[in-house]
């Protein structure tokens, strides 16, 4: 604190010399305060006729008192747009409320320039409440309007950007959905005498999954090929790998009727596409099935994929060991292991990805695991593909956030004999 400023200790004000100096600094009259105030003042009759105006406002507008007082209305001082706003908004509100503050209007100077102002008006009433006149203060808002305009511009830009971002996100979502659909069959084909079911659980709607499956005829509806697998990683790169994998396996199945050979073709294609520093692989089970009489013969080959499970029509469930099969696409001399299985009426073959076995359950977040899956399926046996897949879908749902990976299920089975008979009668 500078002591020369005085007053802070309470004693300075008492000195006569200081008081005199202070007094000289004060306005010498209310009239001068009115005329030279740093804002515009004007008073109008209730019809808007200007009755009094201060020098500050006259100076801003470049008008003389004689031109204004008794001759002009308040709205005559405004731009035409301001006049419209005044008549449609300002005047009605002021009439209704008796007071109105901080309204942005534009005035027009004698030179034709626009003067942005902030206007506050109060209606003075007589003792019995009759409105007498309107008192108005006018603040120069040139700077303020400039940054308000900037704020508005910024808001508009932000709103446009947000709208654009939302549109982009929507387009992306659509593109992802289309892409995801291209990785899976729209529907499984109908195979006479065979029941099939499938399910795909997507862990995240915005992240493309890396699981895939397919089932399709290879010749004359007698033999069908199928596969189910899981590519490493997530997102667009995983999706590209899935796409390459799916269409390679489909093409391979049309050429070679040996599932091991199909996996070798896929291995070659992926190795060719993805080089040493950026290896990418998938694990897959590939199968070929052919009907013979009342049974279906299945020839399966696995490349590093969890073993397929057979749920027997006479109870029980068992894994089909394909131990030793290696993941596909990362190793030049990868070995694949095959297995044959015959499905009898009531038997169901289940292919799945490790989303289910790797799910976390219980308070300790234990791995769900292979034993639990086998026991769950055995508990359902005998169960047709639809019932099995529905039950597993319920199981997956029950995992809640313990399931954080995509999961694919494909089940193929022969209806139990009684079902076949009733179907034949129908």
């Amino acid at each position: 604190m500078n002591p020369a400023a005085g007053g802070s200790d309470g004693s300075g004000m008492g000195l006569p010399s200081t008081r005199a100096a202070f007094s000289a600094l004060l306005e010498d009259s209310a009239e001068d305060l009115y005329e030279s105030a740093p804002c515009g003042y004007l008073s109008t009759l209730m019809d808007g006729t200007i009755a009094k105006v201060n020098a500050t406002l006259l100076g801003w507008l470049g008008l003389t008192r004689d031109e204004v007082v008794g001759r002009m209305h308040f709205s005559d001082l405004l731009t035409v747009g301001g006049k419209l706003y005044h008549e449609t908004h300002f005047a009605p509100l002021l009439r209704m409320q008796g007071h109105l503050g901080g309204i942005a209007l534009d005035m027009r100077t004698a030179q034709g320039a626009k003067l942005p102002v902030l206007v506050t008006s109060t209606v003075k009433t007589s003792d019995d409440g009759e409105p007498l006149l309107i008192r108005t203060t006018v603040f120069d808002a040139t700077d303020r309007r400039a940054y308000e305009r900037e704020l508005l511009r910024a808001r508009r830009v932000a709103e446009e950007a947000r709208a654009q971002a939302e549109a982009d996100r929507e387009r992306l979502r659509e593109a992802l959905a289309v892409l995801q659909q291209s990785l899976l069959p729209a529907a499984l084909p109908h195979i006479p005498g065979v029941e099939t079911a499938c399910h795909y659980h997507t862990a995240s709607p915005i992240e493309l999954g890396g699981d895939f499956y397919d089932l399709f005829p290879v010749d004359d509806d007698k033999r069908f090929a199928f596969f189910l697998g899981d590519v490493c990683g997530k997102g667009p790169q995983a999706a590209a790998l899935t796409s390459l994998t799916r269409y390679t396996l489909r093409a391979a199945a049309l050429h070679a009727s040996d599932p091991v050979a199909n996996l070798r073709i896929l291995n070659t294609v992926l190795l060719d596409r993805y080089t040493g520093d950026d290896p990418r692989y998938c694990t897959a089970v590939v199968g070929l099935m052919e009907r013979s009489g009342n049974t279906v013969d299945v020839h399966l080959a696995s490349g590093g994929h969890p073993p397929a499970l057979v749920v027997r029509g006479d109870g029980g469930a068992e894994y089909l060991s394909t131990r030793g099969g290696m993941l596909v696409g990362a190793l030049p001399d990868a070995q694949f292991v095959d297995v044959h299985v015959r499905l009898r009426p009531g038997d169901t073959l289940l292919l799945y990805t490790d989303g289910i076995t790797e799910a976390r359950t219980g308070p300790d977040r234990e791995l769900y695991g292979y034993e639990a899956l086998e026991a769950f399926a055995a508990g359902l046996a005998p169960a047709g593909p639809r019932r099995l897949v529905d039950a597993l879908t319920g199981l997956l749902r029950g995992f809640g956030d313990g399931l954080d990976d995509d999961t694919a299920l494909l089940a193929i089975g022969l209806p139990a004999r009684t079902d076949t008979e009733s179907e034949n009668q129908a």
């Binding site: 590519v231 997530k234 040493g276 290896p279 969890p306 131990r323 099969g325 993941l327």
Partner: protein, 112 residues
């Protein structure tokens, strides 16, 4: 979710990289880089010690394959040290236990 820490220690006959924590798609790249930056002597042994690894996903497996490709391209060899049953099962399931040298303890590295 456990953070991944990778520690490198050099020995005359090669290099030991110890990975502790979770190895997944968020950090698998770091294991690759660690293996790339390490100067493996010709014919040397790269030991990736996973005995204190708690989790490994498919991206982790990819990184292990990349590290192995790199070591072999440099004329060296990769040894994996695996203790956890889960990781052993994963290596077994993917058939990688047939192509990778998987051991249950860090071998003694000597100049040869």
């Amino acid at each position: 979710m456990n953070p991944l820490t990778i520690t490198a220690s050099h020995a005359p006959g090669g290099l030991v990289l110890e990975a502790v924590g979770d190895l997944d798609h968020t950090n698998a790249q770091r294991l690759r880089h660690a293996a790339q930056e390490a100067e493996l002597p010709p014919g040397g042994l790269l030991v990736v010690d996973l005995s204190r690894l708690e989790f490994c996903d498919s991206s982790g497996i990819t990184a292990l394959i990349a590290v192995r490709n790199r070591a072999e391209a440099a004329g060296g060899a990769l040894v994996l040290v695996v203790v956890s049953a889960a990781l052993r099962r994963l290596l077994n399931l993917t058939g990688l236990d047939q192509v990778l040298d998987v051991r249950d303890a860090v071998p003694l590295l000597t100049d040869h």
